[in-house]
């Protein structure tokens, strides 16, 4: 066997298989969708594919850039240089401003603000809970203390309870919001040489410092720009945006992110959005 053939052989053999509880969850979801289609379209409507294509091509509902990336941008300065020359707010102040935060809410509105479609991530660093809701309203409540997760899909009258994978770490092992952002950022920025700037400005009536990181996307003129708004009083990031600059000129915004720091958050999947009428179906081993 030549070395090229051996290489191909290794890649072929590196296979995965789904977990049994995931098989059950996926089949339950797919069978529900199948039944709903059968009920809604006893005689098949051939227009559905076209309508779906039109919807999916609509810029207003393009998938948003994940909130985690925006969060990672926040402390790019720190990751690249450890400081931000000329900034009135230092990274150390932001770190201090974020100490003691329990709940952190990241609201990603995608490329369109105000259309009611958002992607939410909520983290409780005290309770070790991560709640994620995507733009379709699908909600996952992950409780890392009890090792359980709960999945709910809008329209469903059941909630799937399943064990959290033992290898999965809460917030990728970060102890708090600052560490989470810093950690994510290091991953992303490690291979990029971003140009960093800052200026004072206002946002929603409050004074903010605007931190911007821009880097070449592909060496052919395209670029990415991350802009982070840091409240000068609270010393906390309050918003971020992510823009894609096209090689031929022009740009479009992919993400609009808001950060909130609520005192309390949802205590369970029901408070996170699932209806009280939905019953929990467990796949946990007794």
């Amino acid at each position: 066997m030549t070395s090229a053939e051996r290489t191909e052989d290794l890649i072929r053999k590196a296979r995965r298989t789904t977990r049994v509880d995931v098989d059950e969850r996926i089949m339950a979801r797919a069978e529900t969708a199948l039944a709903q289609r059968k009920q809604a379209h006893p005689a098949h409507q051939h227009t559905s594919g076209l309508i779906r294509r039109i919807i999916m091509n609509n810029n207003r509902i393009r998938l948003a850039t994940a909130a985690a990336v925006m969060a990672a941008a926040l402390l790019g300065v720190y990751a690249l240089t450890g400081s931000f020359d000329g900034a009135s707010i230092t990274v150390a102040q932001v770190r201090e401003g974020m100490e003691g935060i329990d709940w952190m809410k990241i609201i990603n509105e995608g490329d369109t603000v105000g259309d009611g479609r958002v992607e939410l991530d909520m983290f409780s660093f005290a309770s070790r809970v991560h709640i994620k809701t995507d733009m379709e309203g699908r909600t996952v409540y992950q409780d890392f203390q009890s090792g359980k997760q709960f999945h709910w899909t809008p329209g469903s009258d059941s909630i799937d309870e399943s064990p959290l994978d033992a290898n999965r770490e809460f917030a990728r092992g970060a102890a708090g919001p600052f560490a989470m952002m810093d950690q994510s950022l290091r991953l992303i920025q490690a291979e990029r040489d971003a140009e960093l700037t800052k200026e004072l400005g206002t946002r929603d009536g409050r004074q903010v410092e605007i931190w911007t990181a821009q880097w070449s996307n592909n060496g052919a003129g395209a670029s990415r720009t991350l802009t982070v708004y840091v409240d000068t009083v609270e010393k906390r990031p309050v918003a971020a945006t992510f823009e894609h600059g096209q090689a031929g000129g022009g740009s479009y915004r992919e993400s609009n992110i808001e950060f909130e720091y609520p005192e309390v958050g949802p205590a369970n999947i029901y408070q996170a959005g699932a209806p009280e009428s939905a019953s929990i179906v467990s796949t946990m081993k007794k």
Binding site: T7, A14, R16, V22, I26, A30, A35, R37, I188
Partner: protein
């Protein structure tokens, strides 16, 4: 009527047994490809769920070649995920402890450390090269099918495959795996 056509017909008619057979037949290929593309097994499982919910909701989107349709759907979801997150998880670490690694005599024969090295080498490819290498070797797609799926010329597909595979081979040679 071929077995695949029979399953598709069952799916059009809302037959849950047909859906389940399709799932069991293709799930491992799909989750393997998805994991290699996004670098995160859990995200890959979510991709798989989205693909099958869409399949169940709109089976008539499939004109022919069920497996090709499913792999294309996985690629599209992987791309969506990567675009949203702007990063690909360097997930593999030691495959021995990774979730979703069921016992497999073929894998044991190959050596788990070697497999881990191979997957880590895949991490070093560009997204375009990785897609083609993974679809061909793990998804079992022919170059012609990949070209049609990705809307590329077959020469481009073959060229990216050659360069990608050579890069992986060089990285493995450095570690004395090949």
């Amino acid at each position: 009527m071929s077995d695949e056509r029979r399953l598709l017909r069952g799916l059009y008619q809302g037959d849950a047994a047909a859906l389940r057979q399709i799932y069991l037949r293709y799930k491992d290929d799909l989750v393997t490809v998805a994991t290699s593309l996004v670098g995160d097994f859990h995200v890959a499982e979510d991709c798989l769920q989205d693909v099958f919910v869409q399949l169940a909701s709109e089976p008539r989107r499939i004109r022919r070649n069920l497996k090709g349709y499913l792999l294309t759907a996985v690629v599209n979801r992987a791309r969506d995920h990567l675009r949203r997150t702007q990063t690909r998880s360097k997930y593999y670490g030691n495959l021995e402890n990774a979730p979703g690694m069921a016992d497999d005599p073929a894998r044991d024969l190959a050596g788990r450390d070697d497999l881990t090295a191979a997957m880590q080498a895949l991490d070093e490819l560009s997204e375009q090269q990785r897609e083609i290498v993974v679809l061909h070797l793990q998804g079992g797609m022919r170059f012609r099918e990949i070209a049609a799926t990705l809307n590329l010329s077959i020469n481009t597909v073959q060229s990216r495959y050659r360069y990608g595979l050579e890069r992986v081979r060089q990285l493995l040679a450095k570690k004395e795996v090949v």
